[in-house]
C-alpha cells in the first residue's frame, strides 16, 4: 500500500509541498480559518460589518480586506477565509448580531484542505478534471465546481495561479490525479 495511501502523510503541516511532478507547482496551503456563512441577501450589510469586509453580492465574486476574504458561492452562501487566530473574534462578532439578524456561521476550517496550483499550464492541468470553461474564470474570482466528480471550490488568484479547496478525505484523490496529469504535461504530449 505504498504510494497513494501515503497521501495523508503529506497533509501534515510539516510537509506542505508536493514533490514536483511537472511544470505546475502544486503546494498544500497552510491551515486557515474557514466559515460557511448562510444569511439572507438582505442582511448582507450586517454580515459585512461583522466580518469587516464588504461581502460581494454576485456569485463568484471575491472581496478581501487584510487577510480576510469572502467568496460568494450561492445566493445566500459565502465562504469566509481568515487567519486562524482571528476565528474566535469573527465568531464573536457574528454571535453578537445573531439575535437581531439570524444567520448560520459554521466553522469548516478542518473540513477542507487547500492547495495552490501555479504555472503557465495551471489551467490546462485543471482542465483534466474540471469541466467548466476556465478561460471564463477571471483572475480574482472563484466558484464551486467539480474536479473529477469531487466537489471543490476553485479560486483563480492570478492568471496562472489557482487555489483549490476540497473536503479533506477527497484531497488525496484530487492530488493524485493532478500529479499524474502534471507528469503528463511534463511529457509534452
Amino acid at each position: 500500500m505504498e504510494g497513494r495511501m501515503d497521501a495523508y502523510a503529506r497533509f501534515r503541516p510539516e510537509s506542505s509541498t508536493v514533490p514536483a511532478s511537472g511544470p505546475v507547482a502544486i503546494r498544500i496551503l497552510p491551515e486557515v480559518a474557514r466559515f460557511s456563512l448562510r444569511i439572507a441577501p438582505a442582511d448582507l450589510g450586517v454580515a459585512s460589518e461583522a466580518f469587516g469586509v464588504a461581502l460581494p453580492g454576485r456569485i463568484g465574486e471575491i472581496a478581501a480586506f487584510g487577510s480576510r476574504r469572502a467568496l460568494c458561492l450561492g445566493p445566500d452562501e459565502w465562504l469566509l477565509h481568515a487567519e486562524e487566530e482571528e476565528a474566535h473574534v469573527i465568531e464573536a462578532a457574528f454571535a453578537e448580531r445573531y439575535a437581531a439578524t439570524p444567520h448560520s456561521l459554521v466553522a469548516i476550517g478542518d473540513r477542507e484542505i487547500g492547495i495552490s496550483l501555479e504555472g503557465e499550464e495551471a489551467a490546462t492541468l485543471l482542465s483534466t478534471g474540471c469541466p467548466i470553461d476556465l478561460e471564463r474564470l477571471a483572475p480574482g474570482t472563484g466558484k464551486r465546481t467539480i474536479f473529477d466528480s469531487v466537489s471543490v471550490v476553485l479560486i483563480r488568484e492570478e492568471k496562472d495561479r489557482f487555489t483549490l479547496e476540497a473536503w479533506r478525505s477527497f484531497m488525496p484523490h484530487v492530488l493524485g490525479l493532478l500529479e499524474t496529469a502534471n507528469r503528463e504535461l511534463a511529457a509534452g504530449l
Binding site: 459554521v106 469548516i108 473540513r111 483534466t128 474540471c130 469541466p131 478525505s169 477527497f170 499524474t180 504530449l189
Partner: protein, 998 residues
C-alpha cells in the same frame, strides 16, 4: 519482392525508410505510410480472413471505414491490440503486426472450409440450427460458438499504457479537415472565434490529399493545404488536432474526441499517455465529415485486389502506391473514372471502365479514349476469379434489363464505386432527423436538434469547389451565430472533378443470384442473399433485418454496408428505402479503446477512496479494511494469526469487559442552525424536538414521504437554535440533499440553514465500563459525572486540550462517549487515548465488532436491517414517532391502508435451535419446510453474527407478521440442510440498559 511504388507520387518521405513486420515477415515502407499502404507497395493485398467464412480478404478502403484489413498490432508486453485497421495504423520502426482469424497461416487456413459450406451458414443459421435440444445450449452450442466467433485475440495482460482526458471549450468545433472543414476553420478562425479543427487522419487535408491535380486560388491543392495549415497554425485562437476522432456527439454540443498520441511513435516519450479523451463543449459545431464510398454488390466482390476506386486513388496519390499494374474499373459514379485516369497516368494498364449506366459525360469518354481505356457502358459484373488475389473479372452487357453474354477481363485489381454515402453518423447521434433525397438517392441531414451545421459532401454536395464554398459559408455562419464578424470568402478552383452517379441494389447477373457470394457487410460476412432471405422469413423493418443478418453490426457499424443493405431490403420488401428505414448510428464513430474511456480511473484512482484522519493509525496497526460507500473503514484489527471471527470475538470481549476505541469519523454530520432550527427538525424527523433541552441528545429517525425509514442517527441540541445532526455513513450526502431540497422547495420561509460538517470533525467512540475512567481526566469544561452528564448528553468542552463536541451516547449498549474534535487533531487525540488506555487494556475495534455489539442490543443499521420498505412500526421503532406533531416528512403515509395492514414484514430476533449455527445474511425464511416448492417465503435474515457475549449466534430478520410470532419456530432452508430458529425480541443483551447508565 517487386515494388509497386510510383516515382514522384505520394506524400511519403522516401528519405526515411521504415521496417516493420507482418506475420513475422519484414516489410519496408516509408514515413507517412500506413500498414496497408506499405503492404500494398510490396504487392501484398491479402491481409486477413473474414469472420464467418474465413475468406481471404485485402484492404478495400484507405480509411477508417475499413472492414477487412484488420490486424493485430504489438509493441511489447501488454501492448497488443486486436482489430487495428491496417488502413489507419501508421508504421514505425519496430512495429509488429499480424493477420487474424486464420490457422495455421494466412495463405492456407483450415477455417476456410466454412466457405465451402456457405449455403448452410445463411442468415439466422445459429437461431435455427442450435435450438434443440434446449439443454445443449449452455454446455455445448454456446461455448463452441463463442470459441469460433469473435475476431482477433483479446489481450491477456494488463494494459501498461496511460490514458488521459481533458475538458475543452471552444466557439466553433470543426470535425473533418477536408476542403469543407479547412474552409470552415479558416473562415471562423479569421473571425477571431476560438476554433478547434479535428481530423482522424495523421495529416489534414481529407480528400485534397488524394486530389493533387486540383488547383485552388491558383495553387496546386497540396500547396494550398500547406498554406492553409500554416495560416491556421499561426492563429492563437485555432487549435489543430490530427489523429483525433470525434467519436460521439452528445447533448448541448458536447462532443467526445479520442486523440491518438503515441501509437505512431517508435519510442513514446516517458510518461506520455497513449490516448486522450477530449470532452469538448462547443458553441457551434461544423460537421465536415465528407462522404464514404459504397461498394458495388456482385459475386466475388470481396476478393483481395477488389477495392474501392477512391481508395486506389488515395493509395496512388497520397502514398505513391499502385494497387495493381493491370486494373478494371466498375462503377456507377463518375468519380471512379478520375481514379482510372490517375492510375492510367501512373503506369497502370486500365483494361476497361465498366459503367452500369448507359449515359456518361462525353468528356469522360474522351479522356478514356485518349488513354486507350476501353469503355463498357450498360454493363454489369457477374463474378471474379482468383484464390488469394483477383485474377480476372467477368463482365456482361445489360440490354433492356437482360444480362447478355459474359466476357472475362484479366486484372490484378478491380476498382469499384457504387457512389458516395454522406457520413451522417455524428449528426445521427444528435437525434437530428434525416430526409431521403430522391435525386441523390441518399439520406441527408434534416431537422437539427443541436447548434450544428453540416458542410460539403456530408450533405450531398459533390466537388472540391462546392465543398470549399459550403465549408466557408458554414464556418462564417457559425462564427456569426456567436457574435463574430465573418465573411465566407469564395475560392477559385480549377481542374475540379465534378461528377454524379447512381446507386444500385445488387448488380444484375446471368447466374443464379441465390448462389452469388455478393457481399454487403464484409466484416460480418453478410451477403445480398442473406438480406433477401431475412425479408422472405418475415423481417420487414431494417432493424429486424439488421439483427437477423448482423448486417452493419460489426465494428465498422456498417459504414460501407448500411446503404447497400437498405437498398436490397427495400427492393425485397417492395417499398421505398425511407419506408424501410435506416438503422441508428451510435457512438463511438469508430472502435475506441476502453482505456480512453477509463482515462485516469485505474488502480488507486479507479474510484475515490475516502480515508479518515485516523486511517493511517489503523493502517499502521494492521487493520483489515472494508469499503463503506466511498470510505474505507477498519473492519477489524487482527492480532497474531487471528482470523476475523477470532479478532471480532476478542474485540467484543475486551470492549464489554473494559473499554474499546472506535473511529466513527465517517458518520455524516450536519449543522442545522437558525431561529427555526427546532421547527425544521420537527418537520424533518419523526421525533419531537421541541422539548429536547440544549445539552441533550435524541435518537432521530428520518422517513421519506412514503413513510419508510431513510436514515437515522443521534442528534444533539447544542443550543436553542443549533443542532448537531449525525447520519449514517452512506446517507450523509443524501440527507443533506434532502434537507436542502425541502428548505428550498417546501419551506423557504424557515430561517434555518444546513451545513455539512462531516469532515470538520474527527469522531472517536469510547465504549465500555471503563470509558469514563479513561476519558474523564482529559476533559475540561464539563463535569463528567453521571448526574451532570447523563446518558444522551452533549457538551462543548475541551478534550486533551482540543476543542471538542462531546456526546454521551452508545451504539454498543455499554457506557459510551463520542468525542468530536477538529479533523486535524483526530489522530493526536486517538493516540493520547490509546496511550492512556493501556492501563485499561484498551482495544481498538472495527466496523465488524461495532455491528455485533449493536445487534446484541437490537440497534438497527439502516440499509441492512431496513430495505426501503420498512416503517418505524415494522422496525419496532414506533416509540420514536412523535404522533402528536402536526406533520413530519412521511407522516401521512404512516396511515395508508397498506402501512397499517396486518402481515407486514417486521423486524424480529431469531435464535437458532443449534446455538453454534450462524445463519447466513439474506437467507430466506419459511414456516413449513415440507411445503411444496415454490415455497411461501415469510422474509429474510438481515443481520447475523456470532455473539461472543452470549456464547451463541444471534440474528435479526424481517418476517411477515413477525411481531406476533414471538416464540414460533421458523425454518431457514439452505442448500445442504434446513436450519430451525425461534422468533424472539430484537434485544438480546441487557434489555434493562443497566450498563449504559453506569
Amino acid at each position: 519482392m517487386s515494388t509497386f511504388r510510383v516515382a514522384g507520387r505520394g506524400r511519403i518521405d522516401r528519405s526515411r525508410p521504415i521496417r516493420f513486420t507482418f506475420d513475422g515477415r519484414t516489410v519496408q515502407g516509408y514515413e507517412g505510410d500506413t500498414v496497408a499502404s506499405a503492404l500494398l507497395a510490396n504487392g501484398t493485398h491479402l491481409m486477413g480472413r473474414s469472420f464467418k467464412y474465413h475468406r481471404p480478404r485485402g484492404a478495400v478502403t484507405a480509411g477508417s471505414d475499413e472492414p477487412n484489413a484488420l490486424v493485430g498490432t504489438r509493441r511489447g508486453p501488454g501492448r497488443f491490440e486486436p482489430n487495428t485497421r491496417a488502413t489507419m495504423q501508421e508504421i514505425y520502426e519496430g512495429l509488429r503486426t499480424e493477420s487474424q482469424n486464420r490457422w495455421p497461416s494466412l495463405g492456407f487456413d483450415v477455417g476456410g472450409v466454412n466457405d465451402r459450406f456457405y449455403m448452410l451458414f445463411s442468415a439466422g443459421f445459429y437461431y435455427k440450427t442450435f435450438m434443440w435440444p434446449r439443454s445443449f445450449w449452455d454446455k455445448v452450442y454456446e461455448p463452441v460458438i463463442r470459441a469460433a466467433a469473435g475476431l482477433g485475440k483479446p489481450p491477456t495482460e494488463p494494459d501498461p499504457d496511460r490514458y488521459a482526458s481533458r475538458f475543452l471549450h471552444c466557439d466553433v468545433l470543426v470535425i473533418g479537415a477536408g476542403p469543407a472543414g479547412l474552409a470552415a476553420a479558416l473562415t471562423a478562425g479569421r473571425s477571431g472565434a476560438k476554433v478547434v479543427l479535428v481530423d482522424e487522419q495523421s495529416e489534414m487535408g481529407g480528400s485534397l490529399l488524394s486530389e493533387p491535380s486540383v488547383e485552388i486560388e491558383g495553387q496546386p491543392a497540396w500547396d494550398w493545404i500547406a498554406a492553409t495549415m500554416a495560416e491556421l497554425a499561426s492563429m492563437d485562437n485555432v487549435r489543430l488536432m490530427n489523429r483525433t476522432t470525434a467519436i460521439g456527439y452528445y447533448h448541448q454540443n458536447m462532443v467526445g474526441l479520442c486523440q491518438k498520441l503515441t501509437d505512431h511513435l517508435p519510442v513514446p516519450p516517458e510518461g506520455a499517455p497513449r490516448e486522450r479523451m477530449w470532452k469538448v463543449r462547443a458553441g457551434e459545431v461544423v460537421l465536415a465529415q465528407g462522404a464514404l464510398e459504397r461498394p458495388l454488390v456482385f459475386d466475388g466482390n470481396d476478393r483481395p485486389g477488389v477495392m474501392l476506386a477512391g481508395a486506389a486513388q488515395t493509395y496512388l496519390n497520397r502514398f505513391g502506391v499502385l494497387v495493381g499494374r493491370r486494373a478494371v474499373v466498375v462503377t456507377s459514379h463518375d468519380s471512379a473514372w478520375y481514379a482510372a485516369f490517375d492510375l492510367a497516368d501512373a503506369g497502370c494498364k486500365v483494361a476497361a471502365i465498366v459503367d452500369t449506366r448507359a449515359e456518361v459525360m462525353s468528356a469522360l469518354r474522351e479522356q478514356a479514349r485518349v488513354r486507350g481505356i476501353e469503355v463498357l457502358p450498360s454493363h454489369t459484373v457477374t463474378g471474379t476469379a482468383g484464390r488469394l488475389r483477383v485474377k480476372s473479372v467477368r463482365v456482361n452487357p445489360v440490354v433492356n434489363g437482360k444480362v447478355g453474354a459474359a466476357r472475362s477481363l484479366d486484372c490484378e485489381a478491380l476498382l469499384m464505386s457504387g457512389g458516395w454515402t454522406p457520413s451522417l453518423h455524428l449528426f445521427s447521434h444528435t437525434k437530428g432527423s434525416l430526409h431521403w433525397d430522391e435525386e441523390a438517392e441518399a439520406f441527408l441531414p434534416g431537422r437539427k436538434t443541436e447548434a450544428c451545421r453540416i458542410a460539403g459532401a456530408g450533405r450531398g454536395l459533390w466537388g472540391i469547389g462546392k465543398a470549399l464554398e459550403d465549408g466557408a459559408k458554414a464556418g462564417a455562419a457559425a462564427a456569426r451565430a456567436l457574435g463574430h464578424e465573418a465573411e465566407a470568402k469564395s475560392l477559385a478552383v480549377a481542374n475540379d472533378r465534378e461528377g454524379r452517379g447512381v446507386t444500385h441494389k445488387e448488380l444484375p447477373t446471368d447466374r443464379d443470384p441465390g448462389r452469388a457470394r455478393a457481399f454487403i457487410d464484409f466484416q460480418n460476412d453478410v451477403t445480398a442473399k442473406d438480406i433477401r432471405l431475412a425479408v422472405r422469413e418475415g423481417m420487414r423493418s431494417i432493424e429486424h433485418v439488421k439483427r437477423y443478418t448482423t448486417n452493419g453490426m460489426a465494428t465498422d457499424q456498417g459504414k460501407m454496408s448500411n446503404m447497400n443493405g437498405l437498398a436490397i431490403a427495400a427492393d425485397a420488401v417492395g417499398k421505398a428505402p425511407p419506408q424501410v428505414g435506416l438503422t441508428t448510428f451510435r457512438p463511438p464513430y469508430t472502435p475506441t479503446t476502453f482505456g480512453a474511456f477509463a482515462g485516469y480511473h485505474r488502480g488507486s484512482h479507479f474510484e475515490v477512496t475516502r480515508k479518515t484522519p485516523i486511517d493511517s493509525w489503523a493502517e499502521e496497526h494492521g487493520a483489515v479494511y472494508e469499503p463503506v460507500s466511498l470510505w474505507r473503514r477498519a473492519r477489524y484489527f487482527p492480532r497474531g494469526n487471528e482470523d476475523m471471527r477470532a479478532a471480532v470475538a476478542r474485540e467484543c470481549r475486551m470492549t464489554r469487559a473494559s473499554v474499546g476505541i472506535f473511529d466513527a469519523s465517517t458518520l455524516g454530520k450536519i449543522e442545522v442552525a437558525g431561529p427555526d432550527a427546532v421547527e425544521f427538525m420537527n418537520r424533518m424527523y419523526t421525533n419531537p424536538w421541541t422539548k429536547l433541552a440544549a445539552g441533550r441528545c435524541r435518537y432521530g429517525l428520518l422517513l421519506g414521504e412514503d413513510g419508510y425509514i431513510r436514515d437515522d442517527g443521534v442528534i444533539g441540541r447544542l443550543s436553542n437554535d443549533r443542532f448537531h445532526v449525525t447520519t449514517t455513513t452512506g446517507g450523509a450526502a443524501r440527507v443533506l440533499g434532502m434537507m436542502e431540497d425541502y428548505l428550498q422547495t417546501e419551506w423557504p420561509d424557515l430561517r434555518v440553514w444546513v451545513t455539512s460538517t462531516t469532515e470538520q470533525w474527527a469522531t472517536i467512540a469510547l465504549n465500555g465500563p471503563n470509558a469514563r475512567n479513561l476519558l474523564a481526566p482529559f476533559v475540561e469544561g464539563q463535569d463528567m459525572s453521571d448526574e451532570a452528564f447523563p446518558h444522551m448528553s452533549v457538551a462543548e468542552c475541551t478534550v486533551a486540550g482540543f476543542p471538542a463536541r462531546l456526546f454521551r451516547m452508545s451504539f454498543t449498549g455499554e457506557l459510551g462517549f463520542e468525542i468530536n474534535v477538529p479533523a486535524r487533531h483526530g489522530r493526536a487525540l486517538w493516540e493520547k487515548l490509546w496511550e492512556a488506555g493501556q492501563e485499561y487494556d484498551i482495544c481498538p475495534y472495527g466496523t465488524e465488532t461495532m455491528h455485533v455489539l449493536r445487534a446484541e442490543k437490537g440497534y438497527i443499521i439502516v440499509g441492512q436491517d431496513t430495505d426501503g420498505t420498512v416503517t418505524p412500526d415494522d422496525a419496532g421503532f414506533g416509540w420514536a414517532v412523535g404522533r402528536k406533531k402536526p406533520d413530519f416528512v412521511g407522516k401521512r403515509s404512516l396511515t395508508r391502508p397498506d402501512i397499517v395492514a396486518p402481515g407486514r414484514k417486521q423486524l424480529v430476533g431469531l435464535l437458532t435451535d443449534e446455538p453454534d449455527v450462524v445463519l447466513e445474511e439474506g437467507a430466506q425464511i419459511v414456516a413449513d419446510p415440507d411445503q411444496p416448492k415454490p415455497m411461501t417465503m415469510l422474509g429474510h435474515v438481515t443481520s447475523s453474527y456470532w455473539s461472543e457475549t452470549l456464547g451463541r449466534s444471534i440474528a435479526l430478520a424481517l418476517v411477515a407478521g413477525g411481531h406476533g410470532r414471538e416464540g414460533e419456530t421458523l425454518h431457514v432452508p439452505m442448500p445442504d440442510r434446513t436450519i430451525t430458529a425461534k422468533v424472539t425480541g430484537t434485544v438480546f443483551f441487557d434489555p434493562e440498559n443497566t450498563r449504559i447508565k453506569l
